[in-house]
Amino acid sequence: MRRILSVLLENEPGALSRVVGLFSQRGYNIESLNVAPTDDHSLSRLTLTTSGDDLKIEQINKQLNKLIDVVKVVDLTEGAHVERDLLLVKVRAVGQQRDEVKRTTDIFRGQIIDVGPATYVIQLTGPTEKLDSFVAALGDAEIMEVVRSGVAGMARGEKVLAP
């Protein structure tokens, strides 16, 4: 089952490599990983998507907590949460395709943020599945390049992840 883990990490040099190293060392997979500082500059926040049965996820959680630089870990998928992924995709946009791509982008409420003579760069945010379906919906258009931020997420309502 797919899980989204949110991790508060000391903003120390090498801290991220401990987290990533843990995953490769113990054979856990990482589907996506998103890292950035938070409003508190002593901390980074990671959102990590992975998959596994309950036992595996419990181990991942415990092993993450064991890292000295890890301040807190929550499994967002255990409760109601919101998640967003950012997609940038560059497509070949010429002739008929130019309109077709624009229409699909509008349907998905994406934005064209760069217009070249024969290219578009489209931005779309949303849960992972929405981005997947958008890429699929581009259909015949020639996709030149894709980049995604990886999932970022937080719990709904009052729940917060704080040190």
């Binding site: 000391e10 040099p13 090498g14 490599s17 401990r18 190293g21 060392q25 036992l55 419990e58 181990q59 415990k62 092993q63 907590n65 064991k66 000295i68 630089d69 890890v70 301040v71 040190p163």
Partner: protein, 582 residues
């Protein structure tokens, strides 16, 4: 406030931390620190002959005393040479602080001379590591390193120190912190009372109980409590390879070691138990055999300070996260309350008596000495050498070992009545551990008898330390079981590869160990006949002030039994000799 250079801060901080010995080896990136060691003359330094030995010596020191071992090495090859010892300590949860020199800050990342990314290389085998960025941070980093290494589940901590930050002319205020707190590291201080209550009830309701105790009981100073608990309930106890000595080895309730080369009665009792109390043990694959077949009828209570050890391998019915000492204290109180209250009749006496009867019959049928015979030759059997060592030292020595058949024979035949006496590399299985570890112990405990049980293969992996022992006068006794093979490898080749001895013997290349020992100024004694063994052993231990190398020729084709049937066997499936299995 006192003004010190980075190098001086390191020495002063070690002094303030109460460090008795630093085991190390100098080199370019560490020279400012070494100069401070010379000038301040505040912490004794032991110059080893190879950095791996520094880590093993510090490790042996830590295992025997319970205090953290301290290592100092230079950058690059000094640091990488220390890696095997750091990994050894990590696998067995040994508190250790390793200070490593690093190239100057401005050279980092440029593939400078003797530059290795020590923090990167050691990352998977440390509890934590620090890269020093500012000289002023040195005291607090050292304090944190000792705190992390020694609390919770102990382990090695590496501090990487660029040379420029130890420069003698750059002085800063020195203050060694009294204590540290880390928001991201708060080891558990007690177990969950509700869980402990449940555990007490389950334990008392057992009909076929067994206590399975590991190295965590020794590390967590829980041996006395565990012994009290076991004796109060009259429950059988088995120890892991790391846990030997946690419960008195010569006591009737002790079933011996469990696992791959565990005692028949210990493995049988585990397999047939209905309640297992696992304390400070981690269900290692060398214990469980095939996990899917592990103790099918047992409910498991697991006490461990590391939550990640619980339910990692085997699902657990009652997990209790907390220090062994506080949890066992509370568990004992709960059990007392039950026994004085309504549960006076627990555990059920008839069931327990029947269980003991069963265990005794296992013990009688296939106890350790079962089926042993002498060959045609005059050679000693390896088991006899350990037995002789046990008798001559009256069971009271600190015994280190290397890795191989000799290690298993030592674990099986030396009955450890006290914790911290059996010192071996259980988790990593590091050949070359025994001699430097014995050296570290003898330095810490000069009045104790320290013996290193080894094989002619393993001893050659750190034999250079005979020179260190000569320099510091550490009169340990080396008992080398010479079977002329990498015996444990040969055993597997006998059992699984139809006796094809691929690279497990040395042709006629072994040194004369007696002369070798003598060349370092030590004493060497060769024992070629079983009949000469006891006299030689007594002679060796009578030479109080000398290192003695006992080169004991043993029967080369002996195997270690019992041995788990693998793959796909359960705990109860064992080879009992070359021809019999359960």
């Amino acid at each position: 406030m006192e003004q010190l250079s980075g190098g001086e801060m390191i020495v002063r901080a070690l002094e303030d931390e109460g460090v008795e010995y630093v085991f190390g080896y100098p080199g370019g990136a560490a020279l400012h620190i070494y100069d401070a060691i010379f000038k301040l003359d505040a912490v004794p330094h032991i110059l080893v002959r190879h950095e791996q030995a520094a880590t093993h010596a510090a490790d042996g020191y830590a295992r025997a005393t319970g205090k953290p071992g301290v290592v100092l090495v230079t950058s690059g090859p000094g640091a990488t040479n220390a890696i095997t010892g750091i990994a050894t300590a990590y696998m067995d949860s040994i508190p250790m602080v390793v200070l490593a020199g690093q190239v100057q800050t401005h050279l980092i990342g440029e593939d400078a001379f003797q530059e290795t990314d020590m923090v990167g290389v050691s990352r998977p085998i440390v509890k934590h590591s620090f890269m020093v960025k500012r000289t002023e941070d040195i005291p607090s980093i050292i304090k944190k390193a000792f705190y992390i290494a020694t609390t919770g589940r102990p382990g090695p901590v590496v501090i990487d120190i660029p040379k420029d930050l130890t420069h003698p002319e750059h002085k800063f205020d020195y203050h060694y912190p009294e204590s540290v707190t880390l928001r991201s590291y708060q080891p558990s201080s007690r177990g969950h009372t509700g869980q402990i209550r449940k555990a007490a009830r389950l334990l008392l309701s057992a009909k076929r109980p067994i206590i399975y105790a590991g190295g965590g009981v020794i590390q967590g100073e829980g041996c006395e409590l565990l012994t009290t608990l076991a004796q109060k309930l009259n429950y059988p106890v088995t120890n892991t390879l790391m846990g030997l000595g946690a419960y008195p080895g010569s006591d009737r309730q002790f079933l011996g070691m469990l696992g791959m080369h565990g005692f028949y009665e210990a493995n049988m009792a585990m397999h047939h138990s209905d309640v297992i109390l696992a304390v400070g043990a981690r269900f290692d694959d060398r214990v469980t055999n095939t996990v899917g077949k592990f103790c099918p009828g047992a409910k498991i209570i697991h006490i461990d300070v590391d939550p990640a050890s619980i339910a990692k391998i085997v699902p657990v019915d009652i997990p209790i996260v907390g220090p062994v000492q506080t949890v066992l204290t509370e568990l004992l109180a709960q059990i007392d309350a039950h026994l004085q209250g309504s549960d006076r009749e627990m555990p059920e006496p008839a069931a327990l008596a029947q269980w003991w009867q069963q265990i005794e019959s296992w013990r009688e049928a296939h106890g350790l000495w079962h089926g042993r015979r002498y060959g045609e030759s005059e050679l000693a059997m390896p088991q006899d050498v350990i037995k002789c060592l046990y008798e001559v030292t009256e069971g009271d020595a600190y015994v280190t070992s290397d890795v191989g058949q000799h290690q298993m024979f030592a674990a099986q035949y030396y009955k450890f009545d006290k914790p911290r006496r059996w010192i071996n590399s259980g988790g990593l299985g590091t050949m070359g551990f025994g001699l430097p570890a014995a050296m570290g112990i003898k330095l810490a405990l000069p009045d104790a008898e320290v013996a290193c049980v080894t094989g002619e293969g393993s001893i050659q992996m750190n034999i250079q330390e005979l020179s260190t022992c000569a320099q510091y006068g550490t009169p340990i006794k080396i008992v080398s079981l010479r079977n002329n093979y990498l015996g444990m490898v040969k055993q597997w080749q006998d059992m699984q590869y139809e006796g094809r001895y691929s690279e497990s013997h040395y042709a006629a290349s072994l040194p004369d160990f007696v002369k070798l020992a003598e060349s370092f100024g030590h004493v060497g004694i060769k024992v070629e006949k079983r009949d000469d063994l006891e006299a030689a052993m007594r002679e060796a231990f009578a030479l109080k002030d000398r290192l003695v190398f006992l080169d004991v020729f043993v029967e080369p084709h002996e195997h270690v039994y019992p041995m788990h049937v693998a793959p796909s066997g359960a705990m109860k499936d064992m080879w009992l000799s070359k021809t019999e299995r359960t």
